[in-house]
């Protein structure tokens, strides 16, 4: 009985060893095999997945080359549902350092966002280009204001025929003066400050002419920066850009006519042209897209904030849409298109 049970146990042991070796083998094979995104993680880059098994043959290196389809979606801010500044900058930097990456094809669907954030991305893309790599941009439904600002870093800009772009302008800040309403309600709100303009733009402080001039100065400076970048990258005269940059949006056709974009076409058209530009037709395209992992509590807190915000405004007899105006989630000053 004992010998028999030892034999059976030995068989189980051998099966375990075989399973362990098979698992290890699959793990190693996954590392060395070709194909993008075997892990399902869009931020993992193919060449780095295989960096431990150095392929030195030029042919293999050529086959490994890829274009990164980098998605910029949503409001350009530090951390949003579809956008994360840190992730984006790190990804651009990683792509810059990755030998197998040859180009970035931006997919932009954004109404813009913070001046600071948009410029940071713009500069990161310029830095990427210093490594001798190409940047193309493809515009989705909306690539306005800060979205267009980032697109200016591209060598060539493509747009879908239904894209809305432009909105070249700046929102320096906004004042919602609630002193009248608070007075009606019998609410006294006071902010203790030192410095006569410290409380400017606060809801309990009417905007003075001096404060208006201060904010205008901020807006003008950011506007000059924006138009300067458009002029430089689109090879247009500054005066011509300023004529176009009155904050309006343009259709793809209007933008093409005015030199704000290069071509109207499809995503595939942009991929094809870029592949030819880097002398690697049929080059692989790897998706790099930010995915926020939202847990149950995030969802819950979002719902609670929306409901309580709306309820408060309703109880004051104000439209619920004012919530976005009073508590903007966009960093100011902003290159932002407001519908």
């Amino acid at each position: 009985m004992s010998q028999k049970s030892k034999r059976t146990g030995f068989v189980v042991f051998i099966i375990i060893v075989i399973i362990a070796v098979a698992v290890a083998g699959i793990g190693i094979y996954e590392s060395t095999s070709d194909g993008t995104n075997a892990t399902g993680n869009p931020s993992l880059l193919p060449s780095q997945k295989r960096s431990f098994f150095k392929d030195v043959e030029p042919m293999k290196k050529f086959q490994k080359q890829y274009i990164a389809a980098l998605y910029i979606e949503g409001v350009i801010e530090d951390d949003g549902k579809t956008y994360n500044q840190e992730w984006l900058l790190t990804t651009i930097n990683t792509l810059k350092n990755d030998e197998s990456n040859r180009a970035i094809l931006l997919y932009i669907n954004s109404p813009g966002g913070g001046v600071y954030q948009a410029d940071e991305v713009y500069l990161a893309l310029l830095d990427y280009k210093k490594a001798g790599k190409e940047v193309y941009a493809y515009m989705g439904p909306l690539a306005a204001s800060g979205g267009y600002y980032i697109a200016c870093a591209a060598d060539t800009i493509y747009a879908n025929r239904n894209t809305l772009t432009g909105s070249i302008g700046v929102i320096a800040g906004q004042s919602v003066d609630m002193t009248g309403l608070l007075g009606k309600l019998g609410v006294k709100s006071e902010t203790i400050t030192a410095g006569k303009n410290k409380n400017m733009l606060n809801y309990n402080c009417p905007l003075t002419d001096e404060q208006r001039a201060i904010m205008q100065g901020v807006a003008d400076e950011a506007y000059t920066q924006f138009t300067g970048i458009v002029s430089e990258n689109r090879h247009m005269k500054l005066a011509d850009v300023q004529k176009l940059a009155d904050g309006r949006i343009y259709t793809a056709e209007q933008a093409e006519k005015n030199g704000l974009i290069d071509h109207i076409g499809s995503w595939d058209d942009a991929v094809s042209e870029l592949s030819l530009k880097i002398s690697n037709p049929g080059c692989k395209v790897t998706t790099c897209r930010y995915e926020k992992s939202e847990n149950f509590f995030d969802m819950l807190s979002g719902v609670v904030t929306n409901v309580t915000g709306s309820k408060t405004l309703s109880s004051l007899g104000l439209p619920e849409t004012l919530a976005g105006e009073i508590q903007p989630d966009v960093p100011f000053p902003a290159y932002l298109y407001r519908k």
Partner: protein, 242 residues
């Protein structure tokens, strides 16, 4: 009474001149664990490599980026479960040897370790049953999860020593015999930290001897808990029959 020092002292005596098989068992366990961890390690190293290349100047940034970008793949999930079941089977096989060593001074053989693998099916069932209960308790908070992990810690010993007992009853007995001693068991685990740190300094080589020492001590603690429970009539001999 729970006498930690005594259990450890007994363990040293019991292992004297019988280190061979426990050490071999530990080496085999290490080897299999390493093999099973390769897919996980590969993904993690790739992520570290990627994020490290991107922001190598700041260690904390690298860490946070790695945690941000790291995602478990389907293969890893499957491997995770395989690894979970296999480690349960190996643990039970190991306990089979340690229980034999605790009963008498006669030498143990590699065949005894192999004999322990016969319990593979019960080991899988026990691990799943324990996992389910620990998971449910952890949903409440992390502390209840830890407390229950200690409460169920004797299950593998019980299913190894009493093959007729069902897995569910083994878990129940484990819960009963550890009642009032969970703190002692926790302290006993903590008391090996010093040896653990010392083993880390030796690049992990020390663990080849530390793991048998801990296992043997825990086996003695199990005998002590069982004896206390029988004496206090928390469990009866009838409970230990199938």
């Amino acid at each position: 009474m729970f006498n930690r020092q005594k259990y450890k002292e007994f363990a040293r005596i019991q292992l004297k001149k019988r280190w061979g098989i426990p050490v071999v068992m530990t080496l085999i366990t290490f080897a299999i664990t390493i093999l099973l961890e390769i897919p996980y390690a590969r993904n993690m190293i790739d992520t570290v490599g990627q994020q490290g290349a991107a922001s190598s100047s700041n260690l904390w940034t690298v860490y946070s980026q790695v945690m941000h970008s790291y995602k478990q793949t389907g293969l890893e999930s499957v491997c995770g479960w395989i690894s979970f079941f296999i480690s349960a089977i190996i643990t039970v096989a190991g306990y089979h040897v340690y229980l034999k060593m605790s009963r008498g001074p006669e030498p143990v053989h590699f065949g005894d370790f192999m004999e322990g693998f016969n319990n593979w099916w019960r080991a899988i069932l026990a691990s799943l049953w324990m996992y389910l209960w620990i998971l449910l308790w952890t949903l409440l908070f992390i502390i209840p999860g830890i407390v229950k992990t200690i409460a169920y810690s004797q299950t593998y010993f019980i299913i190894t020593e009493f093959p007729e007992i069902s897995v569910t009853r083994a878990l129940d007995i484990s819960k009963r015999i550890t009642k009032g001693y969970k703190g002692d068991l926790f302290v006993m685990w903590i008391s090996f930290i010093g040896w653990g740190l010392l083993s880390c300094i030796t690049c992990g080589i020390g663990f080849i001897w530390l793991v048998p020492y801990i296992s043997m001590s825990m086996t003695n603690a199990y005998h002590g808990l069982m004896k206390n429970a029988l004496e206090a009539q928390i469990i009866t001999v009838e409970d230990l029959k199938g």
